[in-house]
């Protein structure tokens, strides 16, 4: 596994894209296909289910290191990562083990799931004795199901494409859907001479848009653009081929089971059709909240009650395959004509109606109505654009509404993990309820490194009380918190839950008494919560 461990370390040590690609190419060049397949499996974000619970790993580590639980916690809080903490506590330096990576995963690690505790202990204890610090660290990441390294799927595909002389979209296509990490798969994936014969379930890579950066005038004439509402649902590719239906999410999960009504509707599509769209929770002519949709995803078994309470539709806006022909290279306007023949404006699968506007200015005004329509702004797509692969600049843009913002007071802080280990980076914010502060949201991101260091110092110098890893601080710092959605919640003291909270700005110009009150937040709730939820 040394080759893989070194790859992990190289990727971990740099944040430069080119160096990451070079490290992966180097690995894929040297590794045997049966090992490379497993490396690819992990690098592209797949995780086997947790092999051994992290609690077990911790118990085993404290036992072997001969330290009590409280000491382990001290160490973990300082390191910010369990896998690394264990590697620091246990490694004895030398590396006496270099099993082929595929054997390690398949023959040694995967069988540990559900194995007898004594067996787990013996196997893991042996690895911890035989591997060096880096090896233990990577091994722990693999078995605790927490393997993450800073490369995107796109970057992995690029490395494969460059190393084996393939176009990126061919690699993307071959890597779509479910595949088994076998030597056979890896050889097929990297074979430059192979004619691609797509299995019927295989989806196309999604075309993704960047947020608009420039002012709109740079986009040129409004006439060249198709304007759609930007829906806040689950992006989905619907495939109907040879009588079968496949619903793929952007995370490349097959989600047929969660949305039977869309499967049923898709069965009516002509064979050889692939649609792109958004699954939305929809009842009585209104889009419900995104949180409702998650209830459908998270259930293993859907009850009739849930299906009735949270029905869904597919709002489709593109067609990638028609009559078994890949039409992604045709311009959007032509694809749209094909799509209009297949889907109507009503029903479970319905076509998105483009918006019209006299000018960019008028469009901007219309954008302000987004929230009352249950959408989050616009998608702008060039009429002549092909359906591209991955996130691309130029002919598709998302133009989102400004987030909600609230001024809140920092009241708790906790140390972060990974790159932010040992710094106070995880904050809890509160708003006023009469003369008391009530917690309202947690936020982790949004500050610059320099600001994080300053807040960290503030926390250390202004701690009131310490509860394990959490500190309460003097309530004097005001931050502007941005978020995308708001919903009632019994779980939070403030009575609301917000979506995607993050720090917008540090309002050093504001005194804590100038922070917002719970009334402001309840007013937002009244204004924007869909009636169906009230």
């Amino acid at each position: 596994m040394n080759l893989f461990t070194n790859l992990y370390l190289s990727l971990d040590q740099t944040n430069k894209t080119n160096e990451k690609v070079a490290a992966m190419r180097d690995y894929f060049r040297k590794a045997r296909p049966e090992d490379a397949a497993w490396a690819l499996y992990f690098l592209s974000g797949n995780k086997p289910r947790q092999i051994v619970p992290s609690r077990r790993l911790r118990e085993l580590a404290t036992e072997l290191a001969g330290i009590p639980d409280w000491m382990y916690e001290e160490c973990r809080n300082t390191v910010g990562d369990s896998a690394e903490t264990i590697s620091l506590l246990l490694s004895e330096g030398g590396n006496k083990n270099d099993l082929p990576f595929n054997e390690l995963v398949r023959d040694h690690l995967l069988p540990l799931r559900g194995a007898d505790e004594e067996v787990q202990k013996a196997v893991i204890g042996k690895f911890w004795t035989d591997l060096d610090r880096a090896g233990i660290f990577v091994l722990n990441k693999l078995i605790s199901g927490a393997f993450r390294v800073g490369v995107s799927q796109k970057l992995v595909m690029r490395a494969i494409a460059e190393e084996f002389g393939l176009p990126v979209d061919i690699v993307a296509l071959r890597m779509m859907g479910n595949w088994e990490p076998t030597a056979e798969f890896f050889r097929t994936l990297t074979d430059a001479n192979l004619e691609d014969e797509a299995p019927i379930a295989r989806p196309y890579p999604f075309h993704l848009a960047y947020p608009i950066e420039d002012d709109l005038s740079k986009l040129g004439s409004l006439k060249d653009w198709q304007i759609e509402w930007k829906y806040d649902g689950i992006r989905c590719q619907v495939i109907k081929r040879e009588g079968e239906v496949f619903l793929w999410s952007r995370g490349e999960d097959l989600i047929n089971d969660s949305f039977p009504e869309i499967v049923a509707a898709a069965e009516e599509l002509p064979d050889g059709t692939v649609l792109d769209g958004e699954i939305l929770p929809f009842r009585h002519g209104r889009i419900l909240q995104f949180q409702d949709l998650q209830k459908r995803l998270n259930r293993k078994k859907l009850t009739d009650k849930l299906l009735a309470k949270i029905p869904v539709i597919l709002q489709t806006y593109d067609i990638l395959e028609s009559g078994t022909e890949d039409i992604r290279q045709k311009p959007l306007a032509s694809r749209r004509e094909v799509l209009e023949e297949i889907a109507g404006v009503e029903g479970t699968i319905r076509i998105t109606e483009p918006l019209r506007s006299a000018s960019w200015e008028k469009l901007d005004e219309l954008r302000d109505e987004s929230r009352s329509h249950g959408v989050e702004g616009f998608m702008l797509k060039r009429f002549d654009s092909p359906y591209r692969v991955g996130r691309q600049r130029g002919d598709w843009w998302k133009w989102k509404i400004d987030p909600f913002t609230v001024d809140a007071v920092l009241i708790y802080a906790q140390k972060g993990s990974g790159r932010r280990a040992n710094l106070f980076t995880d904050y809890t914010f509160a708003v006023w309820n009469d003369d008391k502060l009530v917690t309202f949201a947690k936020a982790y991101s949004g500050l610059t490194d320099e600001e994080i260091r300053r807040v960290d110092r503030f926390v250390r110098d202004n701690t009131r009380e310490t509860f394990g890893p959490v500190r309460s601080v003097e309530p004097v710092q005001v931050f502007e918190i941005a978020f995308e959605g708001i919903q009632r919640s019994k779980r939070h003291k403030s009575g609301v839950a917000v979506r995607f909270p993050r720090i917008h700005r540090w309002r050093e110009d504001k005194k804590p008494e100038e922070a917002d009150s719970i009334e402001t937040i309840h007013a937002l709730l009244e204004e924007y919560e869909p009636e169906a939820n009230r």
């Binding site: 944040n15 000491m71 790159r419």
Partner: protein
Amino acid sequence: MSSRQELLSLTDSGIYCPPGDFYLDPSKPVDVAVVTHAHSDHAYAGSNKYFVSEKSELLMKMRLGEEAVLETRRYGEEFEINGVIVSFHPAGHVLGSAQIRVEFEGEVWIYTGDFKLTRDPTCEPFEKVECDVLITEATFALPIYRWTPPDELSRQINSWWRSNIDAEKVSVLFAYSLGKSQRILKSVDPSIGPIFTHGAVENLNKAYRESGVHLPETHYVGDIEDKKEFTGGLVIAPPSAAGTSWLRRFGKHSTAFASGWMAVRGARRRRALDRGFVMSDHADWPGLIEAIDASKAKRVLVTHGFVDPLVRWLNESGKEAEPLK
């Protein structure tokens, strides 16, 4: 403890000895200061008189100023201050660094200052001295801190330097200018390429050489006019030079930091460094425990760093221990 006055206790100005009326490593100007070593967080200027170890004299002069009144004492040499017996013992931290032994009415206290047990060719090895009460530092007092052996460290730094040469990059290694830099100079293989130093480091190299520590040849960066000369070189600079325009002169370069904090990935990645070498002039966890055991102290007072975990660990191992107050 009874209400009896402690022989050493913490005050606003530093550790104070009431019967001797002197301070250890005072952080403010006092009348009589006894100083463990020349790092700026231990040696503060402005006191009337300083007792320092003989080997630290040159470094102390640089830190405290030429006009400072220094009384130097050899390691192990006992001297009296107002009837209190004081002596310096090697702490193995940097050149001239000392533990301070304080004896009064038959009771012996040791203040370790900063110390390490790891072998270091630039200073005298840590001496194990027995005492009744030990005041120890706790900078790295968690069991996750266990240092890489010196030979392995040398191999790592040499191989990083060589691979940078292959990649046509200059190697820039950040290290504290007093102690760590010289230890690195003694650890690397000077046959790999030329070694350059930042001004702060070069000044201290001079003091080390004058104190009798042999260091490989170094070139002060400021003296180099043709940038081509840096090719294949190793540059040693203080951490404060990281991320500054000073680095531009080296062209393509790779950065690394040598510090005990580099043991943890997060600390390394936050600094956006290419490499971190786990190299500290403080004791690691096994070193701390070994030194505490060897002191045979009946009571351990802990200061600076992971104080609470070390105190609790010692208490749970049946030792009387508490934070230094």
